[in-house]
Structures are given as C-alpha cells and as structure tokens.
C-alpha cells in the first residue's frame, strides 16, 4: 500500500482543487479525518498511464503557509511533513485559478520554494478565456521552472497531460531545477509584487470585458432585491424539502412495510421476530424515510455553494449577524445545520476568529435539523387541526414554520448573550473572496450527495439500529407474568426507569411515554418517534398496523398542552449524541459540549414548561 507515491493538491480556496480531485479519482475516494482535528482528509487513487497507482489527497484551500484556521494548519503541516501520521508528499500539484493569477501565483511561489517536486495545474482556463484573458503557460513554465498544464477540471480537459507531467516529476524527483526557489522572499508583499509581475508576463492579451457576474451581483447584492431573492430561495428550498420528498419517502416507507410483512410471513411469532420487526425494521425504517428530505436539503446547499451564491448570501446577512456579534461567514454553517448540525459544525472550521467560531458551534443545534422533522410531523399531524387560516396557508404548516422561527430567534438571542458573556471578545471581521458565478457541475454535486447518503445510512445502521434494539430489549424484558394486571411497558425495565424519572418531567406536562422516549432519543431525535411507536406497539398490540393507530393512541393519551410542550422541548433540547461528539472534537475537550448540553436542556425545560402552563391557562 505505502508503495504508492503520495501526491497532494494544494492551492487557494476556490481554485478548483476538489473538482480536479473528483475528476482525477472518480468514485475511488476515501473520506477520513486527520488525527486530533476534524478536518476531513479526502484521499483517492489515481492511476497513471503506465499503471502506477498514486494516492492523491485534496487539501483544504489556503492563501498562504501562515495558517489562520484549523483547516489551513493541516495544509501547511501536510506540505511541510509536520502533519502527525502523514509522510511528506512525494510531489504536489499546485492548483491555480487562471483567471486570477495575480493572487494565486503568490501562494504558488511560496509552495515551490518548499522544494518538493511540483506540477502546476493552470485550472479554470475556460473562465480565463470567458473573461477575455489570453495566457501563455509556456511563459510560466519558463519563469517558474516547473511544468505548467492548462486544465478545466469540470470538463476534464488537460487531465491526461497533467497525469503525464506528474508521472515525469515522480520519476525524476527533485531533479527538475527549481529556479524560483533561489531567493524567494519571505515577506508577503514582496511575493505579491513578484506574482503580479509574473502574471503580467504570462498574459498575452486582456480584453476588458465587463463581467456578466457584475449584472447578477447588482441584484444578488442589492440591499432590497438581494434580500428578497435570498428569502425567495430559502422559501423554495424548504418548500421543496416538504413537497418533493413525499413520493420517494412513501416508496421507502412501503418498502420497509413490505420487508416487515415478508419477515412476518417467513417466521412464526417469536421474540426474534419481534426484535426484527418491532425493533430493527420499525426503528431504522422510521429514520431512513427521511433520507429524501435530507438529500434535497443538501442538494440545495451544495448547489448554492457551487454556484458561488453562498458567499453572496453571507454578504447580505453580515449586517444582521454583526448585530448579535457574529459575522456573515457564520451564515453558511448555520444554513447547513438546517440539514444536520454535524456537517454544519464541521464547516465552522473556515471561521478564523476563535470566539466567533465557538459561538457558531454553540448555536448550530438550534437550527431545526431534519431529524426533528419526524417528531414535528407526527405530533402536528395528531394535534393541530388541518384547516386553512388564510388562503394557501394551513394551520399545520404555520405551526411547523413557527417552530423553525423559534429555533432561529432562540439562536440569535443565545448568540447575543454568549457574545456578551462566555465568548466575549472584539467583534470579528468579515473578509471573504467572492467566487465567480458558475453553473454547478452535476458530477460534483452528485458525488457530494453520495457521500452524505453514505454517512446517513451508516448512522441509521449503527447508532439508530443499536439504540432501537436496546430500547426494544428494555421494553420487552422482563416479560409480564400471565394474568397480571400490570401492563408490559410498566413492568419492563424501560418502563420502570421512565416511571422513576417521570416526576422530573411532570411539572412541564410530560407523561411516562414521553419520559420513556426521551432517553433513547438522546442518541438521535428521530428515535423519539420510533420509541413512542414501540411503546404503543407493545402496550397495545392492535396498534402496530401503521401510523393511523399510533396517531389515535397519541390523541387518546396526550393532552394538547402536553403535545405543544413536547414540540417546544424538541426545538431546544440537545437530543443528539453525534452533535455532542462533533462539538467535543471541534472544541478539543468536554468543557464546551457540556456547556452546550446544559444550556440547551435548561432552555428546553423552561420553554416546554412555559408552553404547557400557558396552554393550560388558555384552556386549550
């Protein structure tokens, strides 16, 4: 394995490293982590023309070798051989944006000076042409003393040439003279000037075209129309999550039901059959149904990122985020957190200011993630009448929207408080390069979604399957003796635990079933639904034939104030071990996840209680 040479892709953010990585390695990718940091290590296999395999690594984008965020530190340590557990790469491919040479060449000069064998991919050659820029790669090859290959990662142009050059330098090693390395100045301003000179020499001609991106930006960044556009996009996104997902979700649901029936037909009634159907299939199925919704949400986010729009949204939101002590940059992880807080928290790595980043991590779980949808959908469907309050505005939809708003308002409020107390500090800045507008590349979006699907299904197959099996066991044993008047649930271990902790939750209107569901739901929120389903399936054998009966059970056993308090609990409660785990890794310790769990539970308890009392007082 370690015979394959290690080659790293390095360059500024948005140079097209990931696109090039995808084009060169296809689906042969492996996503892991660098030890100690949650920076994703993306590696893949590339086969050279002579059949030699190469391990290619996609490094986080950075502007220089002086890191200002955890990602950027990985890149520096990797190319200097200081990254723990990694060997020094055998060669690096420097990826440059051909339409932005002035800026990208500076970092290239720094990288070349490291002395590793280098090939330069002069990427986005098509965009340079679109902008009326004519470049001569030969000039760069001559001036820099390293091979320069024009590429268009998204159209797979120049890849063969790139592989050939890579093959060549891997063979000859550092035998290629590194002209630029003699006397590369350390100081960034001098480097920048040298980069500008080089860019000028490599430019054959330059037509001053007014970029069409400017016209788009006049709308997208407009103080009024830009904001309207942003909200329209968000509206369509959430609308799509709810409407487009129904068909595939129903299909998945039908599939799991069929599987359950098939097993029931295959096996006689037994403990094992109950474990498979009530435990595994019901539990995992209840979660996998949400895969379409999650993928739609991620597809929107990936497209918004790839099109270059996401940074525009951050630009528009900066003012508002600044009012609670954050920056527009925080908008991007927070938007991702609507799909799932885990990738949201991981994407805070690009936030340079430590306190700003910490605050964003701490409020990310308040964004309504897709795992809350099953809970909201079930309870709203059971308790909120399906009637219109306005034309086209249903009461159920309005309540759902209200829950999303509660989360966002809560997050802003918490950010404001934190920034004035525990994460107090000077307001962080907002300085971002705005990428050029582009049509997103279907292949890259598809690969991104594939990765998400894998992570989600792995989660469903491990955490969620395990938790539901444990819960099923705790609910099934010990078996109630025949003829006893005590119900199976109350007799079981889980029931006894729930009856013990129920008094803690009684003041906020929760009953035993809720207390019972909350414990396994610590693993993942969706499990609450599965847990309640299992409780009623075991308590009331008639009810395991589909959702209808479960809804009736809910209506019979819960009051409306209880249901509302339950919803409010889920707006705030930190019911997700993955989020807690990722927070621990990202903040390097237990202090901040403990703080996060504490404040969220307190908030959940108080607001659920207040909701219950208010609803009771109003006579609901």
């Amino acid at each position: 394995m370690n015979a394959a040479p290690l080659v790293a892709l390095v360059g500024n953010p948005n140079a097209g490293k990931s696109a090039l990585f995808n084009a060169l390695t296809g689906a042969r990718q492996k996503v892991g982590n660098y030890p100690g940091v949650t920076v994703e290590r993306k590696s893949g296999r590339l086969v050279l023309d002579d059949g030699r395999p190469v391990e290619l690594v996609d490094l986080p984008g950075t502007y220089s070798l002086e890191p200002s965020s955890p990602d950027e530190r990985v890149t520096r340590d990797f190319v200097t051989g200081r990254q723990a557990g990694e060997r020094l790469p055998d060669a690096i491919v420097i990826v440059l944006d051909a339409s932005n040479l002035d800026n990208h060449l500076r970092f290239a000069l720094q990288l070349i000076a490291l002395g590793l064998p280098v090939v330069i991919a002069l990427n986005m050659f098509d965009l340079a042409e679109r902008d009326g820029l004519k470049l001569d790669p030969q000039v760069l090859t001559r001036e820099l003393g390293v091979p320069v290959v024009p590429t268009v990662a998204v159209r797979r142009r120049g890849l063969e040439d790139l592989k050939q050059q890579l093959s060549g330098i891997l063979e000859h090693g550092a035998a290629i003279p590194l002209r630029a390395s003699d006397g590369v100045p350390e100081d960034i301003v001098t480097l920048q000037r040298r980069a500008r000179q080089l860019a000028q020499r490599a430019t054959v001609s330059e037509a001053p075209t007014r970029r069409w991106g400017h016209a788009l930006d006049s709308i997208a960044l407009h103080p009024v129309f830009g904001v309207i556009l942003l909200f329209a996009i968000l509206f369509v996104m959430f609308q799509a999550v709810f409407t487009w997902a129904t068909v595939p979700a129903d299909a998945i649901d039908t599939g799991f039901l069929a599987l359950e029936q098939w097993i029931k037909g295959l096996m006689p009634d037994s403990i094992l059959r109950s474990l498979l159907t009530d435990g595994v299939i019901a539990g995992v199925g209840a979660v996998v149904v949400f895969l379409p919704q999650i993928l739609i949400l991620f597809a929107f986010i990936l497209v918004l990122e790839a099109s270059g729009y996401m940074v525009r949204a951050a630009f528009l939101m900066d003012r508002m985020m600044a009012s609670v002590g954050l920056s527009g940059r925080a908008f991007i992880p927070l938007l991702s957190s609507f799909a799932c807080a885990v990738p949201g928290i991981m994407s805070t790595r690009t936030i340079e200011d430590e306190k700003d980043r910490l605050t964003t991590i701490l409020i990310a779980p308040l964004m309504t993630c897709s795992a809350r949808l099953p809970v909201y959908t079930l309870v709203i469907g059971a308790f909120i009448p399906n009637r219109a309050v306005l034309p086209f505005v249903g009461l159920q939809g309005l309540v759902m929207f209200g829950l999303y708003v509660m989360g966002v308002v809560g997050a802003f409020f918490v950010a404001l408080v934190l920034r004035n107390t525990v994460t107090k500090g000077a307001s962080s800045g907002f300085m971002m390069e705005m990428p050029k507008y582009q049509l997103p590349n279907v292949r890259d979006v598809a690969l991104g979604l594939l990765g998400r699907t894998e992570i989600f299904l792995r989660r469903a197959g491990t955490i969620i399957a395990t938790t539901t099996i444990i819960l099923w066991a705790l609910l099934t044993f010990p078996q109630v003796p025949a003829g006893s008047k005590v119900s199976q649930v109350n007799y079981s271990i889980a029931g006894r635990i729930a009856n013990t902790i129920e008094p803690v939750f009684r003041p906020i209107g929760f009953n035993r079933d809720i207390a019972l569901a909350l414990i396994p739901a610590m693993a993942a929120r969706e499990i609450a639904v599965a847990a309640i389903g299992t409780v009623y399936a075991i308590d009331d054998p008639e009810s395991d034939q589909g959702g209808k009966k479960m809804v009736e059970n809910l209506r019979g056993r819960w009051s409306l104030p209880t249901a509302l308090a339950f919803l409010m609990w889920f707006v705030f409660a930190p019911q997700c071990i993955s989020t807690i785990a990722v927070t621990r890794r990202e903040t390097n310790g237990w202090k901040w996840p403990a703080f996060m769990v504490g404040y969220l539970f307190a908030l959940a308890y108080v607001s659920a209680g207040a909701t219950c009392w208010a609803a009771t007082a109003l006579g609901l």
Binding site: E66, H214, F315, R319, M431
Partner: protein, 89 residues
C-alpha cells in the same frame, strides 16, 4: 515594510463611490488587528493596486464588495476605512 507609509487621508475605500477606478495609496496597518492585516495582504491589498467598489450591502453600514485585480472581495466598512485610495487619472 511600509507600516507607516505617508497616507493621504482625503479618500478612503469606504467612501469611494461605486464604479470609480482608484489605486491604493496606503493602508493604515496599525488600525487593523494582526489577522485582519494578514488576510488583507493575502487578498492582494497593497500600494499601487487598482481597486473599485462594486456594491454596497446597504446604505450606511454593512459590508462592501470590492474588485481588486480580477477578484471580488467582501470587506466590512471599518476595514475599508483604513485603505486610502487615490482616484485613477
């Protein structure tokens, strides 16, 4: 390095009208935090570089979008206020 370059205080990037071509006359590095200054250098801000304000997020406050070379960069106004420009002839 030109930390205390003579700075023409008459026009800052924050006050430059949209669409006016200008060149950076000087940057008051000491009014910026260390990471801010570094990122500004990394984005290519330096004396003599051509800049232009393209868009403003809202009247008064909010960030501005600046063209520098062939790149567009979003900056907050307090940072833009430390960048002094002279109008291109």
């Amino acid at each position: 390095m030109n930390v205390h370059a003579p700075v023409d205080t008459s026009l800052s990037l924050a006050a430059l009208p949209n669409g006016r071509q200008a060149t950076v006359a000087g940057i008051e590095w000491d009014r910026l935090s260390i990471p801010e200054g570094r990122r500004l250098r990394e984005l290519g801000f330096d004396e003599g570089v051509g800049v232009e304000v393209l868009h403003r997020a809202s009247i008064g406050k909010g960030p501005i979008a600046v063209r520098i070379g062939r790149m567009i960069v979003a900056l907050r106004r307090n940072v833009a206020a430390t960048i002094h420009v002279s109008l291109a002839a």
